[in-house]
């Protein structure tokens, strides 16, 4: 069953690839926050109608 060697090699390689990916994703803090992203996808990032942004000033005092 020599072909098994190929299959095993292929499988392990793929798995290893994903292991690396896993480690990367943990390392880069992908999963530090495991809730907010699921909410974030619900928002559409439509551009806001540009308007004068002075409104803040008067209320400051």
């Amino acid at each position: 069953m020599s072909v098994l060697i190929i299959l095993i090699a292929a499988s392990i390689l793929v798995a290893t690839g994903f292991l690396v990916a896993f480690i990367w994703s943990v390392k880069s803090g992908q999963y530090d926050d495991d809730y907010t992203p699921s909410v974030r996808i619900l928002f559409d990032d439509k551009p806001a109608p540009s308007s004068e942004k002075t409104s803040l000033k008067p209320k400051q005092k």
Binding site: L4, I12, V26, D34, V39, F43, A48
Partner: protein, 813 residues
């Protein structure tokens, strides 16, 4: 006797709701067909609308946070202070800065959306990212375009005022989430599944594979895959075992480490010497399972912190007067003799004497005393009180570090240390286990030495391998892990699993009154006397609106919620502290307050006692509002259950004894109930209990700073809070006010947990017996080991998970 309100049909009248914050409001400000409770809310709405952020209102119902009163930015002045900036900014390269804040108000999708779109409102903000669970926001902004202060003001303005406390002052390193365990689990999982895969040929072709070459290849691949498991993933067990040995005691990790070591060693030998294929699958299996177990156990509640010290209660900045000029400084920088300004709703940053202005100090948080106390010029005021009157000027006597309130922490940090430290009953147990294990191994060795030396090593190693107490470890970790979740589901959040064990031991329960047994906000109002007309109610409403006295507030809210009000303007309003309030509303003189104050003529027989507000209109006595604390529902049955269960109960109240009889009819006579307890008294009381009899195990329930010392001193300190994002004193557990009445169930459940673990021990021992019986006969084939270990582990895990879930149901959680 007529009740203004029947508790059950509160909110029966749906008053006009604010489009922004959804709060019921009397006077409504209108702006494009939408109603607002206050200008604040309206402004925020307009701001969002101008920036096309009205999506905020679509994402969830009435998401806004009430903008309380009029918006003063004065209190953020200290953010201009360079020193403060340095302390707060997590990154600053001159133009770009990054800062992160804790925003307790964050509560829904809309919040996330608005907060992450700040950059559209305010140029200069580069991006803002929230972490909902931690209620944190991290903002990068361009210092050139917007100052830190403006940023915080913006946040505060839209309703998310960051909570900046003295604690933030300390250069805390960005909270490092421990990622090691995830790497380990990942690696172990990967190696485990692949080793399993490669071990199959071994098992299912009766140890013979068609091709020798394949067989060799497989074993060597296994070996390579096992290396990281042994050297990396299982390092934790070795370390802790070694630490244990250094302290001359065998913890649970010792036998585990031993087992791993032996398994690995023997496997390596077998593979290299070509005598077999080893037990690597079993080894990686158990390591993987145990790592998962550990991870499962340490469930953390991101959004609360259990060990706050006094620093989290005090603001970071304060306004000081240097030769007449106002300056901002950090509290930590305060010196004895400094002169400071304290504005309305600011906290007194240290023990001080009032120099100018009149202090109306609310100590409820420090002492539990609800009614604010009047402080005149020259009087001493303690740190931690909140000024609810106007601005006052004062001179510092003791900076916060030496202040009275701080002593509470410092003088008992001593015992807070050794609390909940590895006193887990799993560990002593494991000592016997290990001993037994060695004895068995020894006997096996002797036996084979006598009969067949060749089998000696295999037998002994095998014995050590199968007897690995991984399932014991798993039983504890998974049970506690699952229990923590169930507690959490019931709004009872434990600091860590060892609290469960302490909880299961307790035999004495101490309650604080205000905020723990009673609702801090709600109160029960009875009105006795002449029935009031709507106009009269309106008068009362308008008058009480002016006062900040808690009793006035209570009456005011009742009326607001339960009857159509239309506030009127009050002329020459007077509030005489300790007596009452009076004012003129379209030519009616209204007086509310104590008997002496209201009824100047002796016509009405004296009525006195806590929580009494008499009312007279145009000097005609109308009646009296009796305001009594609102006890949490279901308290009485729970207390009875507890006393039946022979728990020793105590009540310590910082408040006056106006509630004595109510408490007594809940607790019964024999229970010790103490009033006017200062924080120190409470602490001492607990200490005394502990001293008098050593095996008393105390659980203390309290809210507020005033209980902090006691909470720390007791074996299990439970901080009761109305909403968990609010600040609760240092404690082992945080409990939502609504579930105080479940206390007895919680304790029962904790005890049940202990039993579950004992059962699971028995199961795992059975497995070990089976395994050993193979092992000592030197008949342990890899497959038996490989089957036995995962199977035993899995059974244990399944068993404890099911059992603890079932128990939760049975204990009514």
């Amino acid at each position: 006797m007529e009740e203004i309100v029947f508790k059950k049909d509160r909110k029966k009248r749906v008053a006009q709701q604010c489009y922004h914050c959804g709060e019921t409001c009397d006077i409504t400000i209108e702006s494009d067909e939408k109603y607002f409770c206050c200008d604040g809310c309206k402004f925020v709405y307009q701001l969002l609308q101008e920036n096309g952020l009205c999506n905020y209102y679509e994402l969830s119902e009435k998401p806004g946070i009430r903008v309380k009163g009029k918006f003063s930015t004065e209190r953020f002045a200290y953010l201009e202070n360079e020193e403060v900036k340095k302390k707060l900014l997590r990154f600053n390269d001159g133009k770009q800065c990054q800062v992160s804040f804790y925003l307790p108000q964050m509560h829904c999708a809309s919040c996330i959306w608005l907060l992450e779109n700040l950059h559209t409102i305010q140029p200069g903000i580069l991006y803002s990212k929230t972490n909902f669970q931690r209620k944190e926001i991290s903002i990068a902004f361009n210092a050139g375009e917007i100052s830190l202060r403006k940023l915080v003001e913006l946040l505060a303005f839209v309703g998310y005022e960051p909570y900046i406390s003295l604690k933030d002052g300390e250069k805390k390193l960005p909270n490092k989430i421990n990622r090691k365990k995830f790497y380990k689990i990942g690696v172990a999982g990967f190696c485990f599944s692949n080793i399993m895969m490669l071990s199959f040929p071994e098992y299912f072709s009766a140890g013979k594979i068609e091709q020798q070459s394949l067989e060799k290849l497989f074993s060597f691949l296994n070996l390579t895959l096992a290396l990281p498991v042994f050297f990396y993933c299982s390092s934790g067990f070795f370390i802790s075992a070694w630490k244990g040995l250094r302290q001359k005691w065998l913890n649970i990790d010792a036998p585990i480490a031993l087992a791993i070591l032996v398994t690995f060693g023997r496997s390596v030998y077998e593979i290299l010497s070509n005598t077999g294929s080893g037990y690597l699958d079993s080894m990686s299996g158990i390591v993987f399972f145990m790592l998962v177990g550990r991870w499962f156990q340490d469930k953390t509640y991101d959004s609360f912190s259990f060990d706050r010290d006094y620093k989290s209660y005090f603001p970071l900045g304060v306004t000081i007067l240097k030769n007449g000029k106002e300056e901002t400084a950090t509290i930590s920088g305060l010196q004895k003799g400094d002169r400071i300004l304290v504005r309305q709703n600011e906290m007194i940053p240290g023990d001080a004497v009032i120099l100018k202005g009149e202090g109306k100090i609310d100590y409820s948080f420090v002492s539990g005393e609800v009614t604010p106390v009047q402080k005149k010029k020259g009087e001493l005021v303690y740190a931690g009180g909140k000024q609810i009157g106007g601005m006052i000027e004062m001179e510092i006597l003791n900076p916060v570090e030496q202040s009275y309130i701080t002593q509470l922490w410092n003088n008992n940090d001593a015992f807070s240390e050794q609390k909940n430290q590895d006193k887990s009953f799993v560990h002593p147990w494991s000592r016997y286990f290990t001993l037994l294990l060695f004895i068995i191994a020894g006997c096996t060795a002797l036996y084979w030495a006598a009969n067949d030396v060749s089998k000696l090593l295999p037998a002994v190693t095998a014995a050590l391998i199968v007897a690995c107490p991984c399932s014991l470890l798993l039983s504890a970790t998974f049970t506690f892990g699952n229990m923590l979740r169930h507690f959490g589901k019931n709004k009872f959040y434990l600091k860590n699993s060892s609290v469960i064990e302490s909880l299961s031991k307790i035999n004495t329960i101490v309650f604080d009154k205000t905020g723990t047994l009673t609702h801090p906000a709600e109160a029960l109002i009875n009105y006795e006397g002449v029935i009031l007309t709507d106009d009269e109610k309106n008068l009362v409403y308008s008058l009480t609106k002016e006062s900040i006295h808690p009793l006035s507030r209570i009456i005011h809210n009742e009326l607001l919620l339960n009857f159509q009000v239309s506030p009127l303007t009050v002329s020459d309003f007077k509030e005489i502290s300790g007596k009452g309030i009076t004012g003129n509303i379209d030519n009616h003189w209204i007086k509310m307050g104590s008997w002496q104050f209201v009824c100047d003529d002796e016509s009405i027989t004296e009525i006195s006692g806590g929580g009494m507000v008499l009312l007279s209109i145009d000097n005609k006595y109308k009646g009296v509002f009796r305001i009594s604390n609102q006890y949490r529902p279901g308290l009485k049955p729970m207390i009875q259950k507890l006393s039946e269960k022979k728990y020793e109960l105590h009540v310590l109240s910082g408040d006056n004894d106006s509630e004595k009889e109510n408490l007594e009819n809940i607790f019964g006579e024999k229970v010790i109930i103490k009033f006017q307890q200062s924080p120190q008294d409470k602490l001492d009381y607990i200490a005394r209990l502990k001293k008098n009899d050593y095996d008393v195990e105390i659980v203390m329930l309290g809210d507020g700073l005033n209980d902090a010392g006691a909470l720390k001193r007791s074996d299990v300190g439970i901080a009761v809070t109305e909403n968990t994002s609010q600040f609760s004193p240092a404690s082992d557990a945080i409990m939502d006010g609504s579930v105080v009445n479940k206390l007895s169930n919680f304790i029962k459940y904790a005890k049940a947990g202990k039993r579950i673990i004992v059962w699971s021990f028995i199961i795992s021992i059975l497995y070990n017996v089976v395994g050993l019986s193979f092992a000592i006969q030197a008949k342990l084939s890899p497959i038996v080991a490989a089957v036995l270990m995962p199977v035993s582990s899995i059974t244990i895990v399944v068993f404890v998970t099911l059992a603890s879930t079932y128990m939760a149901k049975r204990k009514g959680l």
